[in-house]
Amino acid sequence: MGKVKVTGLKKSYGSNDVLKGIDMEVQEGEVVCVIGPSGSGKSTFLRCLNLLEEITDGQVLVDDRDLTSKESDINKIRENIGMVFQHFNLFPHMTVLKNITFAPIELKKATPAEAEKQALVLLERVGLADKANAFPSSLSGGQKQRVAIARALAMNPDIMLFDEPTSALDPEMVGEVLGVMQDLASEGMTMIIVTHEMGFAREVGNRVVFMDGGYIVEQGSPEEVFGNPKHERTISFLEKVL
C-alpha cells in the first residue's frame, strides 16, 4: 500500500479548472519530482496533499487516511506531512530556534527542553548551528530555506512536500538547499518535490512526473522521462528548459 494515494483529484476555482483528474501513488521512501510549465497545476496539486487547497473532487489518502473524510483530523494528518515553501514563510517575530520549536511545543509533541535539544540537532544537520538565536531577517535566502526545512523536520514527519524550494533563491545558494534535500532523500524520507531543477530531479528523483494543463502527461524514471520522453508536450517542455 502506498504512502500517498491520489484518485481522480480535481480542483477548480470557480469556472477555472486547475486540476482535471489526477491519479498517483507514492511509495514509502520514494522521491517524486513534479515538473512542468508554470500554470500546469503542479503547485496546486502539491497543496492538495495537505489540504492547504480544498479539494473539489476525488480522493487523497495519506497512510490510508482519507483527507476529506469527516472523521479525519486534518491537523493530526498534517503533523505527519512536512511542507517547505518557495518563500520560506519563516515566522519573522521568532528566532530561528523558536521557529523550529514552536510547533512541537505548541502541539505538545515535546517539552521545551526536548524541543530545543532536537532543534539544535536539526540545525547542526542543515549546517546552521550558530544561527539558533538569530532572527530570520538576518539570514540569507539559502539559510532561511534550510531553517524552513529544519522547522518542518521538527515534527518528525514521514512525508515531506517541497513547493519550488529553490525558485526564490540566488543561484549561488541553490546548492546548499539541494544538498540538504539530497541528504534527506538518502536517509529514506518520502518526498514529493515540485521543482525547476532538472539536474536535481534527474540525480535524486526515483520518479519524475510531468504535468501540463491540469493532467499528468507522462511519468517514469528520470532516465525514461529525460532520456526518452514519449509525449510531444514533454519533449517541447524539456527542449526549452534543458
Binding site: N50, L52, N75, K76, I77, R78, E79, N80, I81, G82, M83, F85, H87, N89, L90, F91, P92, H93, F102, A103, E106, L107, A148, R151, A152, M155
Partner: protein, 483 residues
Amino acid sequence: MRIQKKITAFLVLMIFFASFAGSLIPSAHAAEAKKTYVIGTDTTFAPFEFQDANGDFVGIDMDLIKAIAADQGFEVRIQSLGFNAALQALQSGNVDGVIAGMSITDERKQTFDFSDPYFEAGPMMGVAANNDTIKSYEDLRGKRVAVKTGTEGATFADSIKDKYGFTIATFDDSTQLVDEVKAGGSVAYFEDYPVLAFGIAQGNGMKTVTEKEPGGSYGFAVNKGQNQELLQMFNKGLANLKANGEYDAIQAKYLSADGTAVVGDKLSKWDVIWTSMPAFIKGMGLTIYYTIVSLFFAFILGLIFGSMKVSHNKVLRGISTVFVDIFRGIPLLLLVSFVYFAIPQAFGFTMQVWLAAIIALSLNAGAYVTEIIRGGIQSIDKGQMEAARSLGVPYQTAMRKIILPQAIKVMVPSFINQMVITLKDTSIMSVIGLVELMQSGKLVIARTYDTFTVYLVMAIMYLIVITILTKIADRLERRVSRG
C-alpha cells in the same frame, strides 16, 4: 511572549481604571433614607442656572429647587443637560423633573404638567454696547437677530419679525447669542430679561436700548401624569419659601430689587483661567477616563468583529460587515442621541448619561477598531498562516501566536490615531450633558462670558494631552516593533 505579557498588563490596568472610575460616577444611591429625584436643567441660563467658580451649580433655579427639597424632605440630583436635551430627557424619563427658566405655555402643557409659576419674566432685546444704529425694533429692518430655542425671546421675536422685517437665527445656548452679536452675524438678540440683565452686569459687552416686554412666567415641569407627588411638594415648598421670606432672599442674591442683575466682580482673563482651572482639570480627567473606558470596550468589540471579519464563515463575515457599516455610518452625534434619548423613550427605560456616552463612543470606535484589526490581520502574508497550518497547528492557535503578534505591529499606528480621535470625540458627548472638558468649558463660558479665553485654554489643553499621549504611544510603538 513579551507582547502577550504587555497586553495582559494593559488589560489589568484597564480593569483597575474602570473600577476606580466607577467610584467617581455620581451615584443615585447617595441618600438612602430620602427619595432622590433627578432634576434636569439648562447648562447656561444665568442667573437661573450656571456653574460658579467652584464648579457648583448655582442660580435662582438651583437655589430654589434645593431649598424646596430641604423644606419638603427629598433629595435632588442636578443634571445639567442644556434646555432641549433636558426636555427630551424628561420625556424619555431619564430625569424626573425640569427646572430651567422654562416659560409656561399652552403648547408645553400638552406634554408636561407645570407647577405654580415661580418667576415672572419677559423677553428683552440686547445689542452690542458699541452699537449706535439700533435704537428701536424699527432699526432691525433687513437685519438678522439671534434667539435661543424655546425661550420667550424666540416667541416674541417671531411674533414681530414680519412687522419689522428682520430674520431670525436660532441657537441652543445663551452664550452663543452674545457671541453671535459680538461676531456681527446678528445685530441684536432677544432673551429673557433676567438672563440678559445678568449677562450685561457680568460685562459681556452688551447693552439694552428698549424696554422689557410683558411675558409669561416660569414653572417647574414634570412629565404629564407622572411624578405628581414631586409637583405637589414643589408647590407646597414654593408657598412655604414665599411665606418665610427665603424666596425673596434667593432672588436678591442674583437680582437687585429693580430687576437688574446684581453685579459681580468683573474677572480679568487670568482670573477666568485661574478660577476655572480646577473645573478644566477635572473635565480633562473625565475626558481621559471616558476615552480609556470607551477604547477598552471598543477594543473588545473590535477583536470580536475583527476576527469574524477575517473568518471563512460567510454569516459571521456578514454580521461583522453590518456592524461596521451601521456604527461607522451613523454620525456620532446622532448615535448618542439615539442611545440617550430615542431608545429609552421608545422602550420605556431610563439611561444614565455616562453610560449612554460610553456606549455610543464604544460602538463608534469599535467599528473603526474592527476595520483596523481586519486590515492588520489581512496585511500579514498568507504564507504565514499556511506555514503554521502545514505543521498541524490549529487555526485559532496560529492566529493567536503567529498572525496577531505580527499584525499588532501593523495596527499600532492606527490604534494611536483612533485614540486621538476618540479623545476628541468625547467632546460631542457634551450635547447630552456629559461633564468632560468641552462641557466644563461651556459651563465656565456661561458664567464668565469670556468665550475666547476659555476656548483657547481648552484647545491648548486638548493639544497638550494629545501630544503627551501620542509621545507615550510612539515610545510604545517603537518597543513593540523592536520586539
